[in-house]
């Protein structure tokens, strides 16, 4: 892919918009279509596009393995952490009503955090899976 100038330039132009769109889908998911699952996949797709065009080595510089590995666990931990936060604040597990001063904003905060956890884990998993496949190809070839 080193010589495909059009692809390289377009990718560079598109990257910020893809990532921004993923963030929009993530945080606007409360009001329109979207949410953690979709945002995670789009975010992952952005990195996959970058890795396809610029090579897995450069993509690894942007998203090093140890960071991605930590993020896979961090998203799930954030989700479970929100659950335990509800428990410690006097509610039930995953009860968002107690997270803020009134139940509705507590619910809203809880949903936002949980969706963030989903988004982080999904994005990191998609990136890991693709990197694993791509790296295997390079090692064998």
């Amino acid at each position: 892919m080193q010589r495909h100038l059009v692809l390289r330039v377009t990718t560079k132009l598109l990257m910020p918009f893809i990532l921004l769109f993923a963030l929009y889908v993530q945080f606007h998911g409360d009001f329109g279509p979207g949410g953690g699952f979709q945002a995670g996949v789009i975010f992952g797709a952005g990195f996959i596009l970058y890795a396809l065009v610029y090579g897995i080595k450069n993509a690894r510089l942007v998203a090093p393995d140890y960071v991605i590995r930590v993020l896979i666990a961090a998203g799930l931990l954030l989700y479970i952490g929100v659950g335990f936060a509800g428990l410690f604040l006097g509610g039930k597990f995953l009860d968002y009503n107690v997270l803020a001063s009134d139940p509705v904003s507590g619910q809203h905060l809880g949903i936002l955090l949980v969706e963030l956890g989903v988004g982080v884990t999904v994005a990191a998993t998609m990136i890991t899976v693709f990197f694993a496949f791509a790296a295997r190809g390079r090692d064998e070839g």
Binding site: F31, G32, P33, G35, F37, G40, V41, V122, T125, M126, V129, A132, F133, R136
Partner: protein
């Protein structure tokens, strides 16, 4: 008989059976995974069809709208799709490892090699 009202379910069954046939009749492991994906998508369509209300709209609250399609199947399928791709990835990983170990992704050749040894 209510042909229009049941058309969705019938196509779902056709897709489901096509996927099923690919899985049980084809020896190529990658093709089997694609067959499983067809089957999986047919189940998604089944759920979403059941959630649809004619004349309803997408379940995002807006002023002036009273009829919404059922949001519950949407939630179930939304998560199922992403879980589906994660498990597909795991299946493809196993195929890559099988190819490395046996040098083939055809079921018959793998069984042949196992019998030979």
């Amino acid at each position: 008989m209510d042909v229009l009202g049941l058309y969705n379910y019938w196509i779902v069954i056709v897709l489901m059976m096509t996927g099923f046939y690919v899985v049980i009749s084809r020896g190529n492991l990658i093709k089997k995974v694609v067959g499983l994906n067809i089957f999986q998508t047919s189940v998604f369509i089944l759920y979403i069809s059941m959630g649809k209300i004619i004349g309803g709209t997408a379940p995002i609250v807006a002023p002036g709208v009273t009829v919404y399609s059922n949001p519950l199947p949407h939630v179930l399928i939304l998560t199922a799709i992403v879980v589906g791709v994660a498990t597909t990835a795991l299946g493809l990983t196993l195929i890559v490892r099988i190819k490395e170990a046996f040098g083939t992704v055809e079921e018959s050749e793998i069984l042949q090699q196992r019998d030979d040894t």
